[in-house]
């Protein structure tokens, strides 16, 4: 086990993937000598060269579109979108080309492209630098949407995403980049080098994790809100409420089974994400829990998320984002039933 930050773990995972497979390339803005604006690709340009760590023109659609073309010849491009709010010029390439090529070619073409997106807020950034657009992509079939919350998942899942034959959008919680954790660097290497490694990696990436067991309330979180959910659970432990925390890890596919199993146990579900609640991932979870665990529920499924307003200036972001008080408020409300 090694101690790493989330950013360091993703960096180490990228390095391992590039060492394992010479077809893995990184593409993006400022990812070369600078190492990316968050330094996630730090050192890789120096060690692998500009041919494999490519500083691209400043055009997101162009980056994703050319990555698609390169992957058609067997390359495995890992694209960095500099900030969440700048992904929209590439929205068309991602949703109409990347997501659909395998389908429209009836399986003849696979596009193993990974799109890394530093996402979500809480770092005092300017406009368009703190958004959570994952639900916009989860609505499109053909994409896998994942988000690591821990250094271990950052290390494992980036390699699994690269190994997967499907396009994967990899949402990295930028506020958690410098959180540290223990990382086992051997397990995923063994998985990927074994027979059927890409399939088992894709499958593992499609499952949620019970981050803490509990019996009264389930809090479903992913990416930046997992730590928040665990803080709430720890606090409530002393007050006699037992909270189960599910780290979703994957939004598409959604691991309904793990969420529903927990819902049947606790009867109370709260979904916490930074993205606006309206029409979001939480709404999808609420719907699935209602469909599959209706008679086990003691309370309505609640959502704690961003509001249906543009992401505000950073002086207001801690009121806009889910915080401990709002999560505890939601727990109080479900426990009233």
């Amino acid at each position: 086990m090694t101690t790493m930050t989330l950013a360091g773990a993703i960096n180490a995972g990228l390095r391992a993937a590039m060492e394992r497979d010479s077809k893995v390339l990184l593409m993006g803005e400022d990812i070369g000598p600078l190492g990316g604006v968050f330094r996630v690709t730090d050192g890789l340009w120096k060690d692998f060269g500009g041919e494999r760590v490519m500083d691209t023109p400043l055009a997101e659609s162009g980056i994703v579109g050319t990555a698609i073309g390169m992957s058609m010849r067997g390359y495995r491009p890992v694209v960095e979108i500099q900030f969440d709010g700048f992904i929209f010029p590439a929205f068309d390439q991602i949703t109409t080309s990347l997501a659909k090529m395998h389908y429209r070619s009836r399986g003849a073409i696979t596009l193993p492209v990974v799109i890394r997106v530093p996402f979500a807020g809480g770092i005092g950034a300017v406009e368009h630098h703190s958004e959570s657009p994952e639900a916009l992509f989860a609505h499109t079939a053909g994409l896998r949407i994942v988000s690591p919350a821990t250094p271990q998942d950052g290390f494992d899942m980036i390699q699994q995403a690269i190994a997967s034959p499907d396009p994967v959008m990899f949402f990295e919680p930028k506020a958690r980049y410098w959180d540290k954790g223990e990382v086992d660097t051997d397990r995923v290497a063994a998985q990927l080098s074994s027979e059927g490694g890409a399939s088992s990696a894709t499958d593992e990436m499609a499952h949620a994790r019970v981050a803490r067991e509990g019996s009264d309330v389930t809090i479903v979180a992913y990416g930046p809100t997992v730590r928040l959910a665990l803080q709430a659970a720890a606090l409530l432990d002393g007050e006699g409420a037992s909270v189960e925390v599910i780290d979703l890890r994957t939004i598409s596919p959604l691991d309904t089974e793990t969420v529903v199993r927990s819902a049947r146990k606790t009867g109370r579900v709260i979904v916490v994400h930074e993205a606006p609640s309206a029409f979001g991932t939480g709404a999808e979870i609420a719907s699935r829990v209602t469909e599959e665990a209706f008679f086990h529920l003691h309370a309505p499924v609640l959502r704690v998320g961003g509001f249906h307003a543009p992401y505000p200036g950073s002086k207001l972001e801690h009121d806009y984002l889910p915080n401990l008080d709002r999560v505890l408020d939601a727990v109080d409300r479900v426990l009233m039933h």
Binding site: G65, I68, S105
Partner: protein, 374 residues
């Protein structure tokens, strides 16, 4: 028709004029030098077959057998000329009107209609024909073509030292597409990466109803200048010039010299699609002007005058065209509708829980009707 700006015929490379007379070009003639009489007969045959197929497809749409058809009428020279300059290991990215190019890539033309009959979105394996699927999102594929070309370069297929082994990409798009961000980004990415890609713009003068003057105030080939890509305007109704310019452009790209922009100036003689009505936005005089510049008529006149289009050959091709029309008509009606669960196939390469769950539900739902009736 002395148009200016993007509709001018200034600077067009032309090796066959509208009366069917051969012209010389100090630079490009050498790139058509290798054409034999047999080659010209093949061009003539392929243009004739493309048009016959095209007309049959329009009829089938009118008869309700196709949801839509996209005629290439009038663009046969640009397509057959450029398509014949492609060779292994080149790769082609078409837009959605490149039926002539498809023919040169060995696609059995009727298969194209599966898409227009709503059976599936693509009906050939791109790698088998070095011909990507049609792309309906205007200009999106120019970036895929650029990325593909960058990968060919990496794979050692460009400037390898053995020119016969080298390859390049040719990417087709229209005048309307030149306004898309993706096309401009493709030009930039290709330029800075020195990618071996030929951007082949068929300026057929209309983006559905909008004339090219709604897209540009300068000839479209000028778009290459700003990004440092050599650009050529060619008479797209001249199959020999279209071949020569494409031949040069592909050789240039294969040699490692970088991308090229070709603007083939042509005219969409038919409608944009069978849902369109060109009488609302262009005149009969315009159409008559361009009818005199019909690409097939021009080649026919030249070959007749040169004595290289014997009656027996014409008859043979006429019969082949008739046969293709008949086979197309018959084949279209024999294609079974896809099975209902095909919509769940190939959404992902690996299993996906949502797709699996919805498919399982749908299958149960469908079965419930059978059970209700049994």
């Amino acid at each position: 028709m002395s148009a200016t700006g993007p509709l001018s015929d200034e600077g067009l490379i032309r090796l066959l004029d509208r009366t069917g007379a051969r012209l010389e070009d100090p630079f490009f003639s050498q790139y058509a030098k290798d054409l034999t009489d047999d080659d010209l007969r093949r061009f003539w045959r392929e243009m004739t077959l493309t048009r016959a197929f095209d007309n049959e497809a329009t009829s089938l749409q009118r008869q309700g057998e196709l949801g839509l058809w996209v005629p290439a009428l009038g663009q046969e020279a640009a397509q057959i000329g450029s398509g014949n300059a492609v060779r292994k290991p080149d790769f082609v990215f078409p837009s959605y009107r490149e039926h002539g190019v498809a023919l040169t890539r060995g696609i059995d033309l009727p298969v194209i209609l599966k898409m227009f009959r709503g059976i599936e979105h693509g009906s050939w394996v791109p790698s088998e024909h070095s011909f990507h699927l049609y792309t309906l999102v205007i200009g999106a594929h120019t970036l895929h073509a650029t990325g593909y070309a960058m990968a060919m370069d990496r794979d050692g297929l460009v400037a390898s030292g053995k020119p016969e082994n080298d390859g390049a990409v040719i990417c087709y798009f229209g005048d309307g597409a030149t306004s898309q961000g993706d096309v401009n980004e493709a030009l930039i990415f290709a330029a800075v990466n020195n990618a071996p890609v030929v951007f082949f713009c068929q300026n057929n003068q209309f983006a559905i109803s909008e004339p090219t003057t709604r897209q540009s105030r300068v000839p479209l080939a000028d778009r290459g200048k700003g990004v440092g890509i050599p650009s050529v305007r060619v008479d797209g109704n001249d199959v020999i010039a279209s071949y020569a310019v494409s031949n040069w452009a592909l050789q240039y790209a294969r040699s490692g010299a970088g991308p090229v922009l070709v603007e083939a100036f042509t005219y969409r003689m038919g409608a944009h699609t069978t849902s369109d009505d060109p009488t609302r936005y262009r005149t009969r005089a315009d159409e008559a002007y361009w009818a005199e510049r019909d690409p097939i008529a021009r080649l026919t006149t030249y070959m007749e005058n040169a004595g290289i289009l014997p009656d027996e050959y014409r008859e043979e091709v006429a019969q082949e065209a008739k046969g293709l029309g008949r086979r197309t008509r018959e084949l279209v009606k024999t294609w079974p509708a896809p099975s209902k669960t095909e919509m769940f196939e190939h959404v992902y390469a690996e299993p996906h829980a949502t797709v699996d769950a919805e498919r399982a539900w749908f299958e149960r739902y469908e079965r419930s009707f059978l059970e209700a009736h049994s």
